[in-house]
């Protein structure tokens, strides 16, 4: 005789394999469990609604989505690009370096990897491909790999979701991501420099002083965004949600009123796209939240916690076991089921084992971001390859050195937690 949890697990596996969208799978799995257990499915819906209405972290998510959309539509990317070109274009592998630096700066304004890869990333792929200066697959691989910095450097939508499930300070989590994000950028820039020398990639002309000054002045507006955002949060002036609203207002001010590169029509498109993406995220958060309630009732989290505590391994070994499991899952799953189902189920056990949940939030987000470029399911490779019309296989091949570099950073910040926790501890 099958227990309610078995019915739910069978249903979940069946629907995931048949390609039903993950948000729908999560919600309907909870309904199946409720029907089998004789529980009230609608109580779960009520919990989801209350959790969403009352949790200010969740409300920050649509606001950060909106900020990224406004910047995508508003000509801000072009100014950033000119600035990055002036800054590092003359270095070995010039445009590839520009790609990485622009991702680092863009990360301080936008909360997800897709905006970076599909916005400024596409412009850079085109520039890199023009006149055969870089192999198209290499251009795509740099874009894909550097976009993984987006959710590590604050603001970060995956970290907001993590903070919701882990109940940790979003301010601390945002601060904790800064150093690892910069490390990712520096490590990839060193890799590109080495590849550029070996493969003879071109360098751009160094700009004259006047042109460099003009590019810097042109980018001051967008460059101030992370300063306002992070300065506001860490000086205690804004809550993260208010900071999201301020960032959105600032993006509108720049693109619509100051630069006049975004029409009201483009702003309308940004609103509609933000609403659609919010719909998608809401179903994932709601489904994940409800499923975790089921895990608690069925004592799944207790079983996982007991298993973790019974492993009798050090904290570091435990983190590497989790990393290995996530790398294996990341080969076949997108980050959504890992982020909304697996991470929340693991959190009580990790917490009981004494793992710092802020540290874990950063290292596991980095792990999941690298999984987005890992074959065979690297979602970001499919997105960028599809947009730039570049075959997937060669992009995966060119991504391998970047993947290894990013995993090296992941190992480094796992072994040395201070690289993650130093800034939050400094801020108290």
């Amino acid at each position: 005789m099958l227990e309610p949890l078995h019915w739910a697990a069978l249903f979940f596996g069946f629907q995931i394999l048949l390609g039903l969208p993950i948000g729908m799978v999560l919600i309907s799995t909870v309904v199946v469990w409720s029907l089998a257990a004789g529980a009230d499915a609608s109580l779960m819906a009520e919990r989801v609604i209350f959790a969403s209405v009352e949790n200010i972290i969740v409300i920050a998510i649509p606001l950060f989505i909106f900020t990224a959309k406004v910047m995508d539509h508003g000509g801000i990317s072009k100014r950033l690009l000119d600035f990055c070109l002036a800054l590092v274009g003359h270095r070995p592998g010039g445009l590839a370096q520009v790609n990485i630096v622009s991702s680092i700066i863009f990360s301080g304004m936008s909360g997800d990897a897709t905006s970076d890869a599909s916005g400024i990333g596409q412009v850079l792929i085109k520039m890199m491909r023009d006149e055969g200066r870089y192999p198209p697959a290499y251009a795509a691989a740099v874009t894909v790999a550097s976009s993984s910095i987006g959710p590590i450097i604050p603001p970060s939508i995956p970290m907001l979701v993590y903070a919701f499930f882990a109940e940790v300070s979003i301010g601390a989590l945002f601060l904790a991501g800064i150093l690892p994000g910069l490390l990712m950028g520096v490590a990839m820039m060193m890799l590109v420099a080495a590849q550029a020398r070996r493969r003879g990639f071109p360098v751009e002309k160094r700009l004259a002083g006047g042109a460099m000054l003009a590019a810097t002045i042109g980018a001051i507006g967008p460059l101030l965004m992370p300063v306002i955002l992070l300065g506001g949060i860490y000086s205690g002036v804004f809550t993260p949600t208010e900071a999201a609203a301020v960032a959105g207002s600032y993006a509108v001010l720049l693109s619509v009123f100051l630069y006049r590169q975004s029409s009201w029509g483009a702003l309308y498109c940004a609103l509609v796209e933000s609403a659609r993406q919010s719909g998608m995220v809401f179903l994932l958060i709601g489904g994940g939240f409800a499923l975790n309630y089921v895990f608690t009732v069925e004592r799944v989290t207790d079983t996982i916690t007991a298993f973790i505590l019974g492993l009798e391994i050090t904290q570091l070994q435990l983190l590497f076991v989790v990393h290995a499991a996530f790398i294996a899952m990341g080969m076949f799953l997108t980050k959504a089921p890992m982020m909304y189902v697996v991470v929340p189920a693991l959190l009580p056990g990790l917490s009981a084992a004494g793992v710092d949940l802020v540290h874990f939030g950063v290292i596991i987000t980095l792990n999941m971001m690298v999984s987005m470029i890992t074959p065979p399911m690297g979602l970001m490779v499919f997105i960028v390859g599809g947009l730039a019309k570049i075959p997937i296989g060669p992009i995966f091949r060119e991504s391998v050195p970047f993947m290894i570099t990013l995993y090296a950073v992941m190992i480094l910040i796992t072994v040395f937690p201070q690289l993650v926790l130093w800034l939050p501890e400094l801020a108290g």
Partner: protein, 170 residues
């Protein structure tokens, strides 16, 4: 035949108008959500007179805009999915399995409706903290969303089987 074509064109025009109106409503609600927070920042930091209702309104708007937009403008298959397995199968088998998956989803969602309606009665007695808004109204939207998505899944399964896959808003 001409009459049939005219009817199809008229139906398409009606659907397009509905989609445009729904998109406009989503944009308006999202703008309201954004402006609510802008108002909070302005009143709190400029006027030094914090508003008590902004978080509540923003939270409700987030739920409403998400459910409304998902129900009216996003096909089931517009959401993030993991279709590696079905994509690797022969086309007919893949179509059959995906249709089956959608139908099973629809049945499960329809089965959840009676419970949901029962809780609605209790929800009508609950009010929000700041504005004393009736939570039952919010919950009605949840039921509408469940019904629309279940119906959508049946429709998409049928269209998939007939060979014309749907995308956002159809």
């Amino acid at each position: 035949m001409t009459g049939e074509l005219k009817t199809t064109a008229r139906n398409t025009a009606v659907i397009q108008r509905f989609k445009a109106l729904a998109a406009l409503m989503s944009a308006a609600m999202f703008a309201a959500l954004f402006l609510t927070f802008v108002a909070q920042v302005f009143w709190r930091y400029v006027l030094r007179d914090p508003l008590v209702w902004t978080l509540e309104v923003a939270g409700i708007l987030f739920v409403v805009v998400s459910l409304f937009t998902a129900a009216t403008q996003m096909a089931v298959r517009d959401h993030v999915a993991l279709d590696l397995v079905v994509a690797a199968l022969p086309k007919t088998v893949s179509k059959l399995l995906r249709s089956l998956s959608l139908l099973v989803f629809a049945v499960v969602m329809f089965l959840s409706v009676p419970d949901t309606v029962r809780v609605l009665e209790w929800m009508y007695g609950e009010r929000t903290f700041a504005l004393r808004l009736n939570l039952g109204h919010l919950f009605v939207l949840m039921i509408a969303f469940v019904l629309i998505y279940a119906a959508r899944a049946v429709w998409e399964a049928w269209m998939l089987w007939r060979g014309s896959e749907t995308t956002g808003g159809s």
